[in-house]
Symmetry: C2
Subunit: 184 residues, 2 copies
Amino acid sequence: MAETKIDNGVNVDALLAAREALKSAPDAAKFTWRAACKWQNGTHSKSTIQGFHGLGQEQKHKTEFSFEADHPEIFASEDLGATRVEIVLVGLASCLTAGVAAVAQNRGIQLRSVEAKLEGAMDIQGILGIDSDVRNGFDDIKVTFKIDADASKKDIEALVAQSQKRSAVYDCITNPTNVTVEVA
Amino acid sequence: MAETKIDNGVNVDALLAAREALKSAPDAAKFTWRAACKWQNGTHSKSTIQGFHGLGQEQKHKTEFSFEADHPEIFASEDLGATRVEIVLVGLASCLTAGVAAVAQNRGIQLRSVEAKLEGAMDIQGILGIDSDVRNGFDDIKVTFKIDADASKKDIEALVAQSQKRSAVYDCITNPTNVTVEVA
């Protein structure tokens, strides 16, 4: 029987080589990610992403990525972009999804499709300042994966668990991070 | 001297009316924000946002917003979208920026321009699994605002401080949130 080549499009060999290389050059593992945001009008803003620092030098995405954010019409805004909390859900969804693909590649599991649906509960009494006991952010977030792959339910659940374990955004949301805000 | 009308494009009257209305209907303040994510190939995924729940019923953005995420070429990926952690920075930047506009409107301060630059430090030894003492997410995030407005430096700093105090994404990043992940 011919061996079937597993290909989820993730270059795991390159990632494992990078891991080996960075073990002896930990300074190169220090990254700085950046975003710039420009207020447009009202609650509408436009953010862009292109440059970052890593592997000891300045780096650049091939293209500039841009993101519009706004409030919906029910908040008396123009709805010209997603809300900021929805953008955070996108970050979490796509981080866990990429993790599933990378872990599946490393474990020799062929994926056919991966879909994630996220729901974040939020009581807006917090951001409106109605009740100071209500937090501004999400009360909780629920992620539901639907994965079609050449693997048992148990192996698929293990993929998802490992993706959580290595996810930068999952860590960022479930654990506190220090944020300093300054006016230039 | 004619009174100059302050207009940052934020309908503060509508927001204050909503605050009053929700005080007597706290169930309507319970929102659910959603995102859906579909794996494309490798570390590339596409997320979409449209429906949400709030004010006691299903709601919908005027249009569907879509977001591509990927890893850069230095991680042996195709760089077809921003990284997930950069997307989180976009959420934070645009949340604080909208807050500045809303608070300025409420305080009668005319804004001319608001720009935010964000830097998030991350040691990728975490996500690569090199050192389990290194966290996966950001070590810290620095936000620098440049604001041109009809106000003193002190009043501008107070605007930014109030925006932080009411920001959903600032709360989400600086405080822990419970995330449940399931496989359907």
